[in-house]
């Protein structure tokens, strides 16, 4: 089986076969085919191969169509809304930090920063608080005597230590209780991204 030297026509044969040529180009190809045995042979071969390959495995059209959900238009958030949200978050972050710092400078009392710390758990009853007296160094104010009659609850001490970064000052018992606290935290659920449905978030009214 020989090859025609006219590459452009050979290139166009599959398009001719599939009726994808415009009228002018189609006439050019047909004119060439009339005088070229090699291209006629190649076209006949393509036609045979196409018929041979034509049959497709059966598919259940109804089931496939039934699996397609109704169209849901995407909700687009305007750029101004996005900037407003970003500005609000920034203002809250800067403002909250400033208040915490201001309180720390103007007060001679120990600063409990736990309310400002995201993720610190609220105190809960400790089953054995007296087993090991907690260290109070982390919360002692320099101008006051150490509190003896009312020791700080271990959980509060742990939270304060976590917040202020003085975890190294905790006793062994406090560290052990802290580890227990961490271990008792709930794990995040795993996310099945593959099967997740797109979530439509409605824009707030008036924005």
């Amino acid at each position: 089986m020989t090859d025609c030297p006219n590459g452009e026509v050979r290139d166009a044969l599959p398009d001719y076969l599939n009726d994808r040529l415009d009228t002018a180009r189609r006439r050019e190809v047909e004119s060439h085919l009339a005088g070229c045995d090699a291209c006629r042979e190649e076209l006949a071969l393509l036609r045979t191969l196409r018929v041979t390959m034509r049959r497709a495995p059966a598919v259940n059209v109804e089931a496939i169509a039934a699996a397609i959900p109704a169209y849901r238009a995407p909700v687009r958030r305007g750029w101004s809304t996005g900037w407003r949200v970003a500005a609000a978050v920034a203002a809250l972050a800067v403002g909250g930090t400033s208040i915490a710092l201001l309180r720390a400078r103007t007060s001679d009392k120990p600063v409990d920063v736990s309310p400002y710390v995201i993720g610190v758990r609220t105190p809960r009853p400790d089953p054995a608080p007296a087993a090991a007296p907690p260290s109070t160094r982390a919360v002692e104010a320099p101008t006051r005597p150490a509190p003896v009659a009312a020791p700080i609850q271990p959980v509060a001490a742990r939270e304060l230590a976590m917040a202020s970064g003085s975890i190294g000052e905790l006793s062994d018992a406090e560290l052990s209780a802290l580890v227990d606290d961490i271990e008792s935290l709930d794990a995040l659920p795993t996310a099945d991204v593959e099967g997740a449905e797109p979530v439509s978030v409605a824009a707030p009214e008036g924005i």
Partner: protein, 184 residues
């Protein structure tokens, strides 16, 4: 230079997409009826045998779920072929990670090419099957899209993630290999 005219089907595809987006679920069914067989044929040609039905369904579900990402720069069919091919590759990668054997068997691919009964003689059919099976996977992929689906090189390049020039070379190499096989 090849002049490829947009088909009536391509224009109608966009109309059907618009109708589906307007709430006409029947339009989606018409699109499935129009393209499911071609997708199944293509998937079989690249060796996705057992799960053709599943991959075709997955292709349509994903395509319709992200229809707003379809800009109409290519035909809807080309876009569907692109999605289908990526799904097959993803499945093969996942199977490899699970330690499953996923090598495509050339003989298995060839058996998907069943002739229309009575149109092509059995002997010719066997020779054509053998010729197709002798191609490399990429040559076969390109050749099927070019000859069977009538795609342009630009559309093939998009569907199989290659360049237009490379698609043209793969097609002509495939054509030469088929002729050599049949001449032997």
């Amino acid at each position: 230079m090849t002049h490829v005219a947009p088909t009536t089907d391509e224009r109608t595809d966009l109309d059907l997409v618009a109708r589906w987006k307007a709430g006409e679920q029947r339009a989606a069914t018409l699109l499935v009826e129009r393209h499911a067989s071609a997708l199944a044929r293509f998937l079989a040609s690249i060796g996705a045998r057992a799960d053709v039905d599943e991959v075709v369904q997955d292709t349509f579900v994903r395509a319709f779920a992200s229809i707003d990402g379809f800009r109409g720069e290519s035909s809807l069919r080309t876009w569907l072929f692109t999605i289908a091919r990526r799904l097959v590759l993803d499945r093969r990668r996942a199977a490899r990670r699970r330690g499953e054997h996923v090598e495509v068997q050339e003989g298995d691919v060839a058996t998907e090419y069943d002739a229309l009964d009575g149109v092509v003689a059995a002997e010719t059919r066997e020779r054509m099957r053998g010729a197709m099976a002798a191609l490399t996977p990429t040559q076969r992929e390109v050749f099927v899209l070019r000859v069977n689906e009538g795609m342009s090189y630009r559309e093939i390049a998009e569907a199989v993630d290659t360049t237009e020039g490379a698609a043209r070379v793969h097609y002509h190499n495939a054509m030469r290999a088929i002729k050599e096989y049949l001449d032997d």
